[in-house]
Symmetry: C2
Subunit: 692 residues, 2 copies
């Protein structure tokens, strides 16, 4: 990937002196940023532009460029890729649009490009993108003219949409957020977010990463990369509704993802998810400040109302406001004339107009060990402008000196905001809420260490699991005994059960298990909804009852087998399951069971496998988690046993890709442990062979 960002020569294919030609903007961007390498221009009609020759073909170029940038009509692109391949070009940025995002019949054009690139071992970005920027190598090849300098810095931006990418790029420049690398990925035919993210994770210039995605091609790889890095990663994943999907597909050929899985995966990986452009801009502003080491804010405001609003924001974003120490407040108290302020956190400066003191107020707040970050809300007009601008300029320095963040909120008109931004070395926030959101996200951002998620793999009987999965019928479903045995193979506790072939067999099983027992008919897909079909009978108290029920079941349903199971009393009903996401792979699910909880949809998802912490978060983030922890005098369920069951299920999901879906419903949980009493398993794709 590095070669995309650090080429020593660039060829622009599609530059011409014709009015309206956009290839010229690429040249202008390269010249404006001061690209130090060679630039070659190519266009069939030849000629010259600004003193540079235009070569009429790639073949004619005097040397092989490190990077070829293409902005020619879609139909010409496959030929140009072929030409570049023959010339020995290894990296291309194809900015041309008009491929699958326009119509399905353009896929053949795309296929030709992919084939040509394969033939020559080339990598390319796009098509349908606006290209690449690197502030270190001074490379800038987007086709829109970038009329403002890009501020160099530590944020790298990957965007599936050129328009949104530019919005973030410009927003960074306007907001004092320096940029390391930028890439608009378009249709992602060859290079995708995984390739680029892998590069940025290792790129020493990149300190934080912003990803704008409309679809996620290989969610699992993305997840692994985000999880692996300690660099903060902000993900603005759009395309969440059906209409969004239609437009996204016509714009960057994006497919829809299951948003609940995306959400869970990003949370699990330690990414920050932004939901709107405005929110995302605030978050990247926060990331450009020093990272808060904790949640403790000192809020200082010139307006009491904005102090209240700030405290609300701290409450919403899970930040805390410790009191200011006496020695911090003393000089402020002394300086206030009419003492119309009540000294607390948030600190309302009220009628304290000694602007010189403001610098000390911020400096001293940064020096306090009790605080991890400072929010300074300052509004000024008229005669206060000059001294306030000096203050604004100073705050950035204080922030850097202290290595602690200050969210500097300026309540000023837009014109003054522009002037203040020129003087400030740190981002400015329009309101306290935006600053506090930014600090909160920055504080939470960063990789989550991967602990040993495989501890619970111990004892997992993979051979047995494979044999059981191989027993699936043509419809993919396992019979109940095999489904339960599969849980046993993963060492997930299952209520004791025995398989029986007839009524006498069932009675014998019941005598062994002890009463009361449950009887379930086993017979393939048509009996999956056993309760409705009369295929489940509960509360059989003695041999006679078992015999009668079993006989009736055999007569009516003609099942292949019967399951006789110990009836487990009490316990909290939970559901636990596996599903397989096309992009993110195996996902485990935990939820409250019973019809009420299911109607409320109270479930938590994580990618498998999961460690102790992740399983614990799944349990804790259930809306009804209180039910598991001793609600209304009930005994709490065994946390250890529940987490172990979730971890073991996740191992099963991870090791056995043939499982398309699995439901344990219910899993009964009590103080002594958990126990599965029913399960459904569907196998898909190539069935595993027993013994490999």
């Amino acid at each position: 990937m590095k070669q995309f960002f650090y080429p020593s020569s660039v060829a622009i294919l599609g530059v011409s002196p014709r009015p309206g030609n956009m290839g010229r903007n690429i040249l202008a961007n390269l010249e404006n940023i001061g690209f130090p390498g060679e630039i070659f221009l190519v266009s069939p009609k030849g000629g010259e532009l600004g003193g540079r020759p235009i070569y009429s073909s790639v073949a004619e170029l005097p040397q092989t460029p490190d990077l070829a940038v293409v902005l020619t009509p879609a139909a010409t692109v496959p030929g140009l890729v072929e030409d570049c391949g023959q010339k020995g070009v290894k990296r291309m940025v194809i900015e041309t649009g008009g491929f699958r995002e326009l119509a399905d019949d353009r896929r053949s054009l795309e296929n030709q490009i992919v084939e040509a690139s394969r033939k020559y071992g080339m990598r390319f970005i796009g098509p349908n993108c606006i290209g690449v920027i690197c502030t270190e190598s001074k490379l800038s090849v987007p086709f829109p003219l970038l009329d403002r300098p890009i501020r160099p810095g530590g944020l790298s931006i990957l965007a599936q949409s050129g328009g949104i990418g530019l919005t973030y790029l410009h927003g960074c420049s306007e907001n004092k957020v320096g940029v390391a690398k930028f890439c608009s990925m378009g249709n992602k035919l060859n290079v995708n977010e995984r390739d680029l993210l892998a590069y940025l994770v290792d790129d020493p210039q990149t300190e934080a990463i912003l990803l704008y995605l409309e679809s996620i091609v290989d969610g699992r790889a993305l997840y692994d990369l985000i999880r692996s890095t300690s660099k903060p990663v902000v993900v603005h994943k759009s395309n969440i509704g059906a209409t969004s999907h239609a437009i996204a597909s016509s714009h960057t050929a994006a497919l829809a993802n299951d948003d609940a899985v995306v959400d869970a995966a990003l949370k699990q990986a330690g990414a920050i998810r932004a939901h709107t452009v405005h929110e995302c801009m605030q978050i990247v502003k926060g990331l450009s400040l020093p990272k808060p080491k904790g949640r403790r804010l000192a809020i200082i405001s010139r307006s009491g109302g904005h102090a209240v609003v700030s405290a609300d924001a701290a409450f919403r974003h899970d930040m805390v406001l410790p009191p200011f120490p006496e020695e911090y407040l003393a000089p402020i108290q002394e300086a206030t004339r009419a003492s119309v302020i009540h000294l607390q956190n948030p600190l309302d400066l009220g009628d304290l107009f000694h602007f010189e003191l403001y610098v000390d107020i911020v400096k001293n707040a940064l020096a306090q060990e009790d605080f991890d970050a400072v929010v300074m809300v300052h509004g000024y007009r008229g005669p206060e402008v000059e001294v306030s601008r000096q203050f604004v300029a100073k705050v950035g320095e204080l922030c850097k000196q202290a290595g602690k963040p200050v969210a500097l909120v300026l309540l000023v008109d837009p014109e003054e905001m522009i002037e203040a931004a020129k003087l400030s070395s740190i981002p400015l926030f329009p309101f306290a809420e935006e600053g506090i959101l930014a600090l909160s996200c920055s504080q939470k951002a960063g990789g989550i260490p991967v602990t040993d998620r495989l501890g619970c793999a111990e004892g997992f009987d993979q051979d047995m699991a494979q044999r059981l999965l191989a027993s699936a019928g043509p419809d993919g479903w396992l019979d109940l005994p095999e489904a339960l045995h599969l849980l046993n193979a993963a060492r997930i506790p299952v209520a004791p059960f025995v398989t029986a072939l007839d009524a006498e067999d069932a009675v014998h099983a019941a005598e062994t298990l002890g009463y009361p027992v449950v009887l379930k008919a086993v017979g393939g897909a048509e009996l999956l909804h056993k309760t409705e079909a009369g295929g489940v009978v509960l509360g059989l108290e003695d041999a006679e009852a078992v015999r009668a029920a079993a006989q009736k079941m055999m007569d009516r349903l003609k099942p292949q087998r019967l399951v006789v199971m110990q009836q487990i009393g009490g316990g909290q009903e939970l559901i636990m399951g596996i599903k397989r996401d096309p992009g993110f792979g195996p996902v485990v699910l935990l939820g409250l069971g019973g019809v009420t909880a299911e109607a409320l949809g109270d479930v938590s998802l994580r990618l498998a496998p999961v460690d102790d912490n992740e399983a614990g978060q799944m349990m804790d983030e259930l809306k009804g988690a209180a039910l598991l922890k001793g609600f209304r005098g009930r005994p709490p369920v065994s946390r250890a046993a529940l987490l172990e069951a979730v971890m073991r299920l996740a191992i099963l999901a991870d090791r056995m890709p043939a499982i398309a879906e699995l439901d344990v419903n219910p899993l009964l949980a009590g103080p002594g442990g958990v126990m599965a009493v029913d399960a459904r398993v569907r196998v898909a794709g190539d069935l595993p062979k027993p013994g490999h």
Copy 2:
């Protein structure tokens, strides 16, 4: 209230030539806005200022001013109020701070002000506020210098905090939102939001209202006012967390409200609740546009990415995107050169650079009957600036001509945003998400017609209810039979029951009711948690069982009475209740019952009384509402019976203010109706006297 906004003369108390005197700003603001009436200055030291005499006392004024504005130290304020009273002044704006918001011992100062004002029949706004503005009468008395003209228009702003009030006032001017009236209310000792809102609801200049509140004094009156008007009302209610409460109390002496009740009341009244300053500004921008008649948006974007983000926003804000008609798209299709766009809604203009056509695209979209509003997302730079500015200027006109809103989103740098705003007659939005939020809120805003909420009062036996409430014990609790009879008095169905005094009595009762029955011990507060104490026995199937259980209960618990109740089988468990909010009065609650639903806290609130629609919304907004509507093959509960029970409970809450709290738990609901099987009622305050 009108006299506060339309005085023909104003006295400013506390103006002096001393450097740093803030009273002079009040004078400057009045002069800048062009106040046409007389202005008098008062300060103990006398003198003159800018050619005006400074009177040394109120008594010396040559005439009685219509309005006196005070900005002097807190200790002097009671005396000045007395002076004004003697002079015959009827309206004061007390801007001075330093009262209860600073320390509790300042309450006596406040009391003196209140007493003096009462004595002379004066009304006053404040203290601790920044005053009043009226663009029609050209009155402007805030003490901060307002260095920009205020745009006249239809939005009136009431703010408890001066700082937030100014932020909204300036924000309106910057965003093309015209203002009718402004008032910062401060500590609300005399005039509060209810008084001002009542005035604004009738004020012909006021078309929409923005309320910023940190506390709500008389929530019920506020609710009634918002509900009564068809003018859109946006409420930014802050002060939601414990820390916020501490700072709000020291800043505008605000008490905390129960935020769940505030939320329910605002929703019920048809108000729009804003949660942040940024969000609130977007909403008022939306209100300054024509109101969308429905939810159908036409989204037009120059960037595909912004189109995707727009579609996400439409999805989140419950707006719909119908397809564009063929005849609308035909000219656009013709004009696109390379046809790199796929014509759908959102419409991605792709490489369509005919800016002249943009005007027609917007105009024709506004003309379509299929759309209620247009979102136009336009980004431009460099050579496109001139033609884009013409377009921006034109869109406002189109919007007014069509009487339909356009959310004009400009993706430009901040400098250009300022220039474009000068040319635009309508608000500009920074991103599509903000524009769509604004349109969505505007569409939903406006009063909700009050239907007949008292239909369910028919048959309510108020005398009986009063007698029952009078039977409460010294702790305020009713015994179970009286609680159940109270429900009967409100004609809420209760499971058939009989009160018994001993075991034989209980058996006789059970024989009359029919088996199975439930037995409950009745004996005052110590038996309220009957289940834990063994005071409830279920499933008694015959006389013998009843006799044994009753005898055991009598021996063990020595209850005063027993309740024998028919045991009702099946049905969905619900909870229903009354609570009384100090500000909003009687509140009814409906929730799913059973331990799972209770742990999940799935409840809905409304102020009592409620009509059919409101009761229906309570049912429908439960997260587990599906359970009531035929989930997994269960029969749906009787909607009519459930809504009637809620409405009847709300009548009870409304008519019987002595009820401090009431819980029906559970209320069993099935296809045939609903039935209360247990109830708790607590009476507080003066007990009602039977017979009136």
